[in-house]
């Protein structure tokens, strides 16, 4: 596979840590295939010769059952060059706070589950910051090593994702001093730096998902000043101008449905294209997970070639 390095080598060193470390956020409305597209994105980068970490956010693993792997907080190898990890808010926040606690031995007792749950629940921005902090740590600190150059994040769905992106700016406003203020200000800059962060927004060719994607693209643009790349998932490849079938034709129901899907796909795509170029991902009609992910990675790579 040809190595087309998308990371500008010297850019991220300005944040004080590892160079050429990139973050690719994959988000979208629930049920649009966001996690599957994130996994295919990890494959896409690995094929180009990158070392990839596929990180899922949340308390339960999607990839574990899907790929038959024991996915947990420490990365587990999936393929050559790809590790998968699951980050949950409680342990990430615990990790963050305990790093700054004066007596490390007390960490476990003090930051027990109830306490962490209370902290996470009462100050959601704290946990979102810890999450972003962990994500961006290698680019900010020389001591935090992560042996990858691309992190693909199977991020939260729309609303919660925006809340996470807003957290650093919010914190920089509430906290007026201390490391958190410093970190938040740097993280806000990193999230808005196209050399560091890329945003991929997945949607389906259906009315509600398209509406939500349009809203989110605007919010992203307003929040971080970066337009997301748009991916329209599960598209059927249909011939142009399907003629209507006669009511008594046995193919009537099928043809009618395909004509409807065709119209829906066209209107959805043209609505999305008003926001920018849209990458088209096929509906994969086989149940085999490996095949599905490979097909999507192919489609992602092919779409990249297009202007």
């Amino acid at each position: 596979m040809q190595a087309t390095s998308t990371a500008a080598p010297d850019q991220s060193s300005r944040y004080g840590g590892q160079r050429g470390h990139r973050i690719v956020f994959v988000t979208g409305k629930g049920g649009v295939g966001k996690s599957v597209v994130a996994a295919a994105t990890a494959l896409q980068f690995a094929r180009r010769g990158h070392n990839v970490l596929l990180a899922e956010m949340g308390s339960r693993s999607f990839y574990g059952p899907l790929l038959g792997l024991p996915v947990d907080i420490e990365p587990v190898a999936w393929q050559q060059n790809i590790g998968i990890a699951r980050w949950d808010v409680e342990s990430t926040l615990r990790e963050y706070i305990s790093h700054y606690l004066p007596i490390k031995g007390l960490t476990d007792r003090l930051l027990g589950n109830t306490m962490m749950k209370a902290l996470v629940a009462a100050a959601p921005s704290l946990s979102e910051l810890a999450m972003l902090g962990k994500l961006t740590a290698p680019m900010r600190h020389t001591w935090y090593k992560r042996d990858v150059d691309v992190v693909v994040v199977d991020a939260y769905a729309t609303g919660q994702f925006m809340a996470m992106l807003r957290a650093p700016r919010g914190m920089a406003q509430t906290a007026s001093s201390g490391p958190m203020y410093k970190h938040s200000s740097i993280m806000a800059k990193m999230l808005a730096d196209p050399q560091v962060c890329e945003y991929r927004l997945v949607t389906l060719a259906e009315e509600m998902p398209v509406t939500e994607a349009c809203e989110m693209a605007q919010q992203l643009q307003a929040e971080v000043g970066i337009s997301p790349r748009l991916y329209c998932n599960r598209l059927l490849e249909l011939p142009a101008n399907i003629p209507a079938a006669d009511r008594h034709d046995p193919a009537h129901d099928f043809v009618t449905q395909m004509r409807r899907i065709d119209r829906l796909q066209m209107t959805s795509l043209s609505r999305l294209e008003e926001l920018g170029p849209v990458q088209r991902l096929p509906m994969v009609t086989r149940l085999d997970t490996t095949y599905l992910l490979e097909q999507l990675a192919d489609a992602l790579e092919a779409g990249e070639g297009a202007p």
Binding site: K29, G30, G31, V32, G58, S59, R60, F62, P65, L66, I97, Y100, L101, P102, L106, R109, L110, T114, M115, K117, A118, V120, A121, A122, A123, P124, L126, A157, Q160, A163, M171, T174, A175, S176, S177, G178, P179, M180, Y181, E206, E207, M208, L236, E237, L238, P239, I242, A245, P250, A251, D253, F254, V255, Q257, M258, L264, T285, R286, L287, T289
Partner: protein
């Protein structure tokens, strides 16, 4: 299905995102109304067109769904977590000043919208109120969207953690007991607050303690409501329905949730696997062969290939293994389910079962 609707006072529809939960909840409501019941469907964040067809757009009160002609009556209500939470706090605070202190705290503003568990809490508070009002024979709750079905059950625990009396006391600097252990705890708390102050600056921590001081007054009420809601959920007249879509990941998750529900003592009465087959694919193999024939006769080669591929795909999916034996074929409606007639069609499918 009839027995389910007849024998319960509350039905809680659970399932992960994107499985047609809201649509199915609404259809269950229609089915119950057809059977002559006074039924309320409570939903959170419905698709706009579904909200329009239920008549609950921009409306937080229960409304009689317009354009119905059932033996019973169908009502619908939208759960707006923010306004319910405000209303709840106002009703349960000792005085206006106490409520205002809470509303003014910076953390509250995040809490009411992003607190994990607050949507679930308000849903449960609303459910409890509706179920105990005596206005309805049956209340159907469409649970908030979540990545995983089990999130709904974990929510009260998360919320309880915030309102846990020991945590509140700790953040307020009250000792939670005597002796060495309590002293160690207090020292520990000091260290955490110290670290937080170091990390975030003093203002943030002051917000934090302000917040805990403000919720101190209302915490017992919230715990009480949580408890009542839990009792309601465990009541034998409350049925859980698990809605799942028919793909490998969702089925796996559904089966795990099924076990968790049963273990925790909830009454899971029904699993609806929403297979959403397109209408055209319902016919058997002979029928599909005719479709092929007709497409090829019309020189629609590409379309014929597409048909063959999709047909093979849907057959393969039909053969997916699940230990749920209670599958319902729900025909795929026009894109998203819209309008009362489409929901009625779905209700008929559910009742025919």
């Amino acid at each position: 299905m009839k027995a389910l609707l007849e024998n319960h006072r509350v039905i809680v529809c659970t399932g992960s995102g994107g499985v047609g939960k809201t649509t199915t909840s609404a259809a269950l409501g229609i089915a119950a109304a057809k059977m002559g019941q006074r039924v309320l469907v409570l939903t959170i964040d419905p698709a706009r067109r579904l909200a329009t067809s239920l008549g609950i757009e921009n409306c937080s009160d229960d409304v009689r769904v317009p354009g119905q002609n059932f033996a019973g009556e169908l009502y619908a209500g939208m759960i707006d977590p923010t306004s319910i939470f405000v209303d709840y706090i106002e009703r349960h605070s000792q005085d206006r000043a106490a409520a205002q202190r809470l509303f003014d705290s910076v953390l509250y503003q995040q809490l009411s919208t992003t607190l994990s568990g607050s949507q679930e809490f308000t849903s449960l508070a609303r459910l409890h109120e509706a179920a105990s009002s005596g206005d309805y024979d049956l209340v159907i709750l469409d649970t908030p969207p979540a990545a995983h079905a089990v999130d709904f059950l974990l929510a009260p625990e998360k919320l309880n953690a915030v309102f846990d009396s020991t945590i509140v006391s700790l953040f307020m600097g009250r000792s939670s007991g005597f002796g060495l252990a309590a002293t160690a705890w207090k020292q520990g708390m000091k260290m955490i607050l110290g670290t937080l102050t170091f990390l975030t600056g003093s203002e943030f921590v002051r917000n934090f303690t302000d917040f805990f001081a403000a919720i101190d007054a209302i915490a017992p009420q919230i715990r009480q409501t949580n408890l009542q809601a839990q009792q309601l959920l465990l009541d034998p007249t409350t049925a859980f329905v698990l809605i799942s879509s028919f793909d490998a990941a969702k089925i796996q998750e559904g089966e795990a949730f099924h076990d968790q529900l049963s273990e925790a003592g909830y009454h899971l009465r029904k699993v609806i696997v929403n297979r959403a087959w397109p209408q055209w694919s319902q016919g058997g193999e002979q029928q599909q062969a005719k479709v092929q024939e007709s497409l090829l006769a019309g020189k629609q080669h590409q379309l014929a290939a597409c048909h063959a591929q999709l047909q093979a795909y849907y057959s393969a999916r039909r053969a997916l293994h699940t230990r749920f034996n209670d599958l319902i074929d729900i025909p795929e409606m026009d894109g998203e389910m819209i309008g009362l007639p489409a929901l009625e069609r779905l209700a008929r499918v559910l009742l025919a079962e």
